[in-house]
Subunit: 351 residues, 2 copies
DNA sequence: TGTTAATTCGTGTACGTTAACGCATGTATT
DNA sequence: AATACATGCGTTAACGTACACGAATTAACA
């Protein structure tokens, strides 16, 4: 139960196989210079003893650092969303730094594919042991993944997933369900014949499928429950407040909207508009950003849906660490919880 | 920015101080056998170089294990709540096991102080480096903490806090606010003159202040918002279903209750009763247990409030690890997020 | 002054692994 | 037959720290 004291090491393996520890070491790292026969014998003994290398000794003896590449969007004034994953990444980095692991970070611009490609090209794969990547640009990412696969460099995705690749794991949201949940929360408040407005605010075309997926979830709820509310939708392709305000004004002039679902963190712009025009409507949006929080507390936003951006970064790095250092693999798909933030629990939220 | 290569070790310190590494080692562990003069000199150099011992080498060279004592309630049939913290604890244990840390667990019975004392007495403090404890029984815990303080053994609290002690940190809920939040959620649904019922189900007297704190938060919300709803309350001191059902029946006969707030995980019993009597009322309770989850999905429970029991255990152990091994301290008070679980997001919840 | 006992310190080995170095063999090339 | 070169392996010095052992120095006392 508690005492598996007799931890064997290379010495014991060597003794049993009648070879030197050098040879054992060679097969452990499958380097060349061992005959098939002895290699098999040693492998068998390793198997039999269920040998676990002592990682302390290993890292101590090996002077080379382990390097993880981190490829994520930069935090723009456009959105400070990516600050959070970065914080998580840096926390993890701090925790594993004592074990000789360092990070190399590559930031790309969410609005420009070219910047992504540029960063990718800058990476020297020959001195990188693992990769954490937010694969926003699908095609370009896939080209990169193929290179990684060739070199057998493990990688994990955060924030968005690409199917059909050998990623170690994915840490991020399940978008559909978050839209579905939003609809449910909305239903608590609206009446039978209320009109609902879905608002997409984004000029980042490549992110659009993100928003769409949430919208699908949202609409599905109404369909499944057979609710008859009118659901309007507006795409706002400029993110500055003036443009948003004007767009909303147009809609509101022609329709009597009583609840709004904003599909991303831009909900604060809508809240601001409602505030200024003194219109009180139910409002649901995404992400625990500074501006959103302000409107949440002040009452303009009813609910924020949030999916632990920081944790995505933290866990992503940790998954790489567990794999590279301890050869442990965890779950492949790690959907973040879909958190509901209100003015009452927001102070305790861990982003 | 990135390269603080020149990591100094005892060797360098010894060289600068014109002593041997043995002497340096002695002052590092402040053992005896070093003259004050050389000791001061070495200390000064350590300071100057901001020497950080290499923990890998340290743990490798030191054959002794580090032992953490874990003192928490056992999972009873009464409640399987404590299974979750335990899971978190065991996950953390798995992660730090490679670094020579082992756990000794002491389970006590929530219903019996004596069992707590009994477990405490069983612990041999001389071979324990740190303690994780759920200090449910305050007075008895305090006696124990004094002993720990004397031996300078660090400890962290989970689940409930005791003020005025040298605990490294606390990981657990802020109860008042979770009651407050529940009230807010309820307000979305109830009408002005609806009657509300608060239900306490517990025969564990010592846990009672937990429940009370939530009730206070709940009531405060109604007071602050100046809501005029009638709030009834019932204490149910037996936890078996029959007793709960009978108690509820009595209340419902005399009052027209339209929403119920159950102050702990026993909410499933209430849900079951509502189900059987075909009564539909808004229902809010606590904790992501198997039974609760079932009623949540099926629609009898509207919201579950949950505070990451697993994470409490995980983070508690990790805090001890960071302190004992890396001499790092984190925040003292770590209130868990107050999570809102509905049928729509429950599948993604991480307990 | 010599003897003894503290006190203060240096040396050596160990922890389990890595990896450079080098020594035997065996096989192919002139 | 002499030379070259590859293959298969053992030896050994690190990595940074812990700690036992014993040597040197000093203090104490006769």
């Amino acid at each position: 139960m508690e005492g598996n004291k007799e931890l064997v090491g290379v010495k014991e393996i060597a003794r049993r196989a009648n070879v030197s520890i050098g040879t054992v070491d060679r097969v452990l790292h499958n380097r060349t210079g061992v005959s098939k026969k002895t290699k098999d014998k040693i492998l068998a003994i390793i198997e039999e003893l269920a040998y676990q290398p002592n990682i302390l000794a290993r890292r101590l003896a090996s002077k080379k650092q382990i390097v993880f590449a981190v490829i994520i969007p930069s935090v723009s004034d456009e959105t400070d969303y990516w600050q959070e994953p970065l914080l998580g990444i840096e926390q993890a980095a701090g925790e594993i730094a004592p074990y000789g692991i360092i990070l190399k970070k590559y930031f790309y611009d969410l609005n420009h594919k070219t910047s992504f490609v540029q960063q990718i090209d800058q990476i020297d794969l020959s001195d990188i042991q693992a990769v954490l990547i937010a694969p926003i640009f699908i095609e370009e990412s896939e080209n990169f993944l193929i290179k990684l696969d060739k070199r057998k460099i493990p990688y994990v995705f955060i924030n968005s997933d690409i199917q059909g690749h050998n990623s170690l794991s994915y840490f991020g949201p399940e978008l559909y369900q978050s839209g579905y949940l939003s609809a449910h929360l909305m239903k608590y408040v609206i009446k039978e014949d209320d009109t609902i407005l879905i608002v997409n605010i984004s000029h980042e075309i490549d992110n659009h499928h993100h928003l769409l997926r949430k919208e699908q979830g949202f609409r599905s709820y109404f369909k499944e429950k057979d609710l008859k509310n009118t659901i309007l939708k507006i795409d706002i392709v400029q993110t500055d407040y003036q443009f948003v305000a004007t767009s909303l004004q147009t809609v509101f002039k022609e329709n009597n909207v009583s609840a709004i679902f904003v599909t991303n963190s831009r909900v604060s712009a809508v809240a601001k508009y409602l505030n200024q025009t003194n219109a009180r409507k139910m409002l649901i949006g995404f992400d625990y950003t500074k501006e959103n929080l302000q409107f949440l507390k002040q009452g303009s936003i009813d609910f924020l849906i949030c999916q632990k951006p920081r944790e995505q970064g933290y866990k992503g790095i940790m998954a790489l660490y567990q794999f590279v250092v301890h050869a442990k693999t965890g779950e492949k798909n790690n959907f973040m919880p879909i958190d509901i933030i209100t003015a009452q629990n927001c102070d305790f939220y861990i982003n």
